[in-house]
């Protein structure tokens, strides 16, 4: 099993918590309250490739401006970031873009997987007049920046699992590269052993955060 840390960023009420809950509990709450501080959850998925099980340790952060200064604490050690905007609110995309920039500037790990996610697709399927971010614009931006990109609906669940699966696949392919180059150096190690060694310190390791 591989363990990765994932953080969700984005403006308040774009649906970060809703996406996480769709992914973790396969449920949706119309009246979800705005997140205070941050919530920590985990969920595992199985990739088609090699039957690999990937466990995500997820930080669902608060989008409220007040908590912005705490964000580095959550993305600092992340392997993946899910940057969410609301496709019915165009200013939420610019907020997402500024998160992408911040991640690129502040996270040293060049293997950080960033996924741009436009949420509330169901609203535009009901009434296309509600859309205020064109899919082509967002897609173009994502391509330029080398981001994964999806439009999803936490409400209907459409594409939500695909987001996590595709992040998992990217992370796994990075990990395989790493393993290959490592085992070329060391020669004899079997896969299983290397897996454990190469993992970033699990979040459950008490030493990982206090130094």
């Amino acid at each position: 099993m591989l363990q990765f840390k994932l953080v969700l960023l984005g403006d308040s009420s774009v649906g970060k918590s809703s996406i996480v809950h769709r992914f973790v509990k396969d449920s949706f709450d119309e009246f979800r309250e705005s997140t205070i501080g941050a919530a920590f959850l985990s969920q595992s998925i199985k990739l088609d490739e090699d039957d690999t099980v990937i466990k995500f340790e997820i930080w669902d952060t608060a989008g409220q401006e007040r908590y912005k200064s705490l964000a580095p604490m959550y993305y600092r050690n992340a392997n993946a970031a899910l940057v969410v905007y609301d496709i019915t609110a165009s200013d939420s995309l610019s907020k997402a873009q500024s998160w992408v920039e911040e991640l690129k500037n502040k996270v040293a790990d060049d293997k950080l997987v960033i996924c741009l996610v436009g949420n509330k697709l169901d609203l535009c399927q009901e009434d296309s007049g509600k859309r205020s971010v064109e899919i082509s614009d967002a897609k173009q931006y994502a391509d330029e920046q080398g981001l994964l990109f999806f439009e999803v609906s936490a409400k209907t669940g459409e594409k939500v699992n695909d987001v996590f699966k595709s992040i998992g696949e990217s992370l796994y392919s990075y990990k395989k590269e790493e393993l290959l180059s490592k085992s070329e150096q060391n020669g004899t190690n079997t896969h299983g052993q290397v897996d454990l060694q190469l993992q970033k310190p699990a979040t459950s390791d008490p030493t990982s955060c206090c130094t």
């Binding site: 308040s12 009420s13 809950h21 973790v24 509990k25 709450d29 309250e33 705005s34 205070i36 501080g37 941050a38 919530a39 920590f40 959850l41 669902d60 409220q64 401006e65 007040r66 908590y67 705490l70 604490m73 979040t203 459950s204 390791d205 008490p206 990982s208 955060c209 206090c210």
Partner: protein, 620 residues
């Protein structure tokens, strides 16, 4: 112990009650209590200020319980008994000590316990029985009997519980003018304006001014406490330093732009709770403690806290400041704390409100990491709370009454999940604390303690040898905690489609009885109790003459269907070690009997102290 009949107060009108007082001194011998003539009762209910007088002219809106569906429009005066403030002499305690457990147990078990107490108060309007925001169909501010408003010292509106925005702006402008008028012309802080039944109370926490407005008979002290709590909430969310900094730059800063939706929601929740729920925590300045079946459960939980959260941890000392196990409805289960330090009750009230009002519908597969400023701990800095809702996975939802009745209590959440809270001053301690929490929770679950905590549903009135007492609150001063019997939800079952309303109105009724009882022993001007030791009986009843007004003969046939007329006695008993407030069954007015039960309660609480209260906690 014999009582002189004449000691027992009869329902009389308030004005005469004060005149009757001196007589009490002559009659007190039989009680072997001395009445301090110095502590004259300022405690009689002044009906002009209470809510029931003029309002009672309206027929009740059928919100009262079906079995007490009394129309109180014939009440002219609700009489309060002569409040008797008694100070203790030594005999008092001797007496208390002499009450042994040899009470005839059968007698109280057999005693009739009425399930319902009548409502002598103004029929509660819908606004109070439904959640705060649902009554937005009529936003006119004058429609509300109670409201909280905050504005900045420069007169900018910040928050109001009820009311339309446009209306508020002009009202707040007016308030601001009045406040400034007093400041300039009398160089005095305006504290309160009383007008007919209305009480306006101001609290100046420059740069924020808070105003409470109530037509519900609440005292100035009560309203100030409530405002202070609301202000504490603001601090807990943004810290005092931040507030000052924001206004430092600009006097006319608009704080609304800085507050988040969640702040307004939380304020609404707190206002709703302190206005409508049975929440004596605030005026008692204490926390409710979860009663356990055996004291060993708490003891073992504390041992596990020490072991798993401290001994087995290699974190630097002081990383974990406090550990709390808390239970829905703002109850304390166990506490881990440094020697010589306790968290202030206001801070704990805020924390518990946040946990159980804000996060109560969170599912328990997530852990939270929440920055919170504890105003009394340090109003300028933030602490970080690790919060984990424990699920006792093999636990069925507890069986409180029928399942539907238990939903009243846990409408969002039909499991009684305690929450573990670990508090640190360091913002990046989540993961280390999570590790400690997991090992603690594991052992708590495996040892079966968690099940024992979640399956016991507190004690019932019938567990206490206190005949004729309907309900009580016992506060242990040493522990700054109180306990109260669980309300038997079965008594709402027969009000089936409406039991949610029934329960809410019962809660509000209970709250009002206790509030008036409590206020009867409070010094209106200083806010403290009138004396260190107080025994005060209070009676709510319909005065005989007004009761006879309606044509009884006409109603004769139905009269047996009607409930007996309300005649409720309450007792407030304050000693240096505890405070006891109790409400008797309707019609029980024999003070001898009541005081005997009161002593039984005090004895029972003392005997069961360890399972009723967190006595020491896990101290490190």
């Amino acid at each position: 112990m014999e009582f002189d009949e004449s000691y027992i107060d009869r329902p009389i009108k308030v004005k005469s009650s004060i005149e009757r007082l001196p007589n009490l001194n002559e009659n007190n011998d039989t009680l072997t209590l001395s009445i301090s003539s110095s502590s004259h009762p300022t405690t009689s209910i002044n009906l002009d200020q209470t809510l029931f007088q003029s309002r009672l002219q309206q027929p009740s809106q059928s919100l009262s319980q079906s079995n007490s569906a009394h129309v109180y429009n014939d009440i002219e005066t609700i009489s309060s008994s002569v409040p008797s403030i008694l100070t203790r002499d030594n005999n008092f305690y001797n007496e208390l000590a002499s009450i042994t457990t040899s009470n005839n147990i059968n007698s109280w078990k057999r005693s009739f316990v009425s399930n319902e107490i009548p409502n002598v108060f103004k029929p509660f309007s819908d606004e109070f029985l439904t959640t705060s925001n649902s009554s937005s169909n009529n936003d006119d501010i004058s429609n509300y009997d109670k409201n909280f408003l905050f504005l900045t010292s420069a007169g900018k509106p910040i928050y109001s519980t009820f009311g339309k925005d446009e209306q508020l702006v002009s009202i707040m402008g007016l308030i601001n003018t009045i406040i400034h008028f007093f400041r300039i012309n009398a160089s005095k802080e305006l504290k309160t304006i009383k007008f007919l039944n209305s009480n306006f109370v101001f609290l100046n926490r420059s740069p924020i001014i808070l105003l409470a407005y109530s037509r519900l008979g609440e005292t100035t002290t009560e309203l100030i406490d409530q405002l202070d709590f609301l202000y504490s909430y603001l601090i807990s969310s943004i810290s005092e330093r931040q507030i000052l900094r924001l206004f430092d730059k600009r006097d006319n800063f608009d704080l609304r732009n800085f507050l988040e939706v969640s702040d307004f929601e939380n304020l609404d929740q707190i206002c709703y709770m302190i206005s409508n729920k049975f929440y004596p925590d605030l005026y008692l300045g204490s926390l409710q403690c979860l009663t356990l079946k055996h004291s060993s459960i708490r003891k073992k939980t504390h041992e596990l806290m020490i072991k798993n959260l401290l001994m087995d941890s290699d974190l630097p000392r002081g990383t974990l400041l406090y550990g709390l196990l808390v239970y829905p409805e703002n109850k304390l289960v166990s506490v881990l704390r440094p020697k010589g330090h306790t968290l202030h009750t206001t801070d704990l009230h805020l924390l518990l409100c946040l946990i159980f009002n804000r996060f109560n519908n969170q599912d328990n597969n997530q852990e939270l990491w929440v920055p919170i400023c504890f105003p009394k701990f340090n109003a300028n800095g933030f602490l970080y709370a690790y919060i984990n809702f424990l699920s006792s996975k093999n636990n069925k939802p507890s069986s409180r009454g029928t399942s539907s009745a238990s939903n009243i209590k846990n409408s969002n959440n039909d499991k009684n999940c305690p929450a573990l809270v670990l508090i640190s001053a360091q913002k990046d301690m989540f993961h280390p604390l999570k590790v400690l929490a997991e090992s603690f929770i594991n052992e708590l679950t495996e040892s079966g303690l968690l099940d024992k905590i979640t399956t016991y549903n507190g004690f019932k009135m019938s567990d206490v040898p206190a005949p004729f007492v309907h309900h009580f609150i016992y506060k242990s001063k040493k522990h700054v905690q109180y306990i109260t019997p669980e309300v038997d939800h079965n008594m709402f079952i027969n009000q089936m489609p409406n039991f949610e309303i029934s329960y809410a109105s019962y809660e509000l009724k209970l709250k009002t009885y206790y509030q008036q009882l409590y206020n009867s022993i409070m010094n209106g001007s200083t806010g403290g109790p009138l004396s260190k030791s107080i025994l005060n009986f209070m009676q709510w009843s319909i005065s005989p003459e007004s009761h006879q007004e309606p044509d009884i003969s006409e109603d004769m046939q139905n009269s047996f269907l009607k409930e007996e007329s309300p005649n409720i006695m309450g007792l407030a008993w304050v000693t240096p070690t505890f405070e006891l407030y109790l409400i008797c069954n309707n019609g029980i007015v024999d003070k001898d009997v009541i005081f005997k039960s009161a002593k039984n309660i005090a004895n029972w609480c003392r005997k069961n102290e360890a399972r009723l209260f967190v006595t020491e906690g896990a101290v490190y």
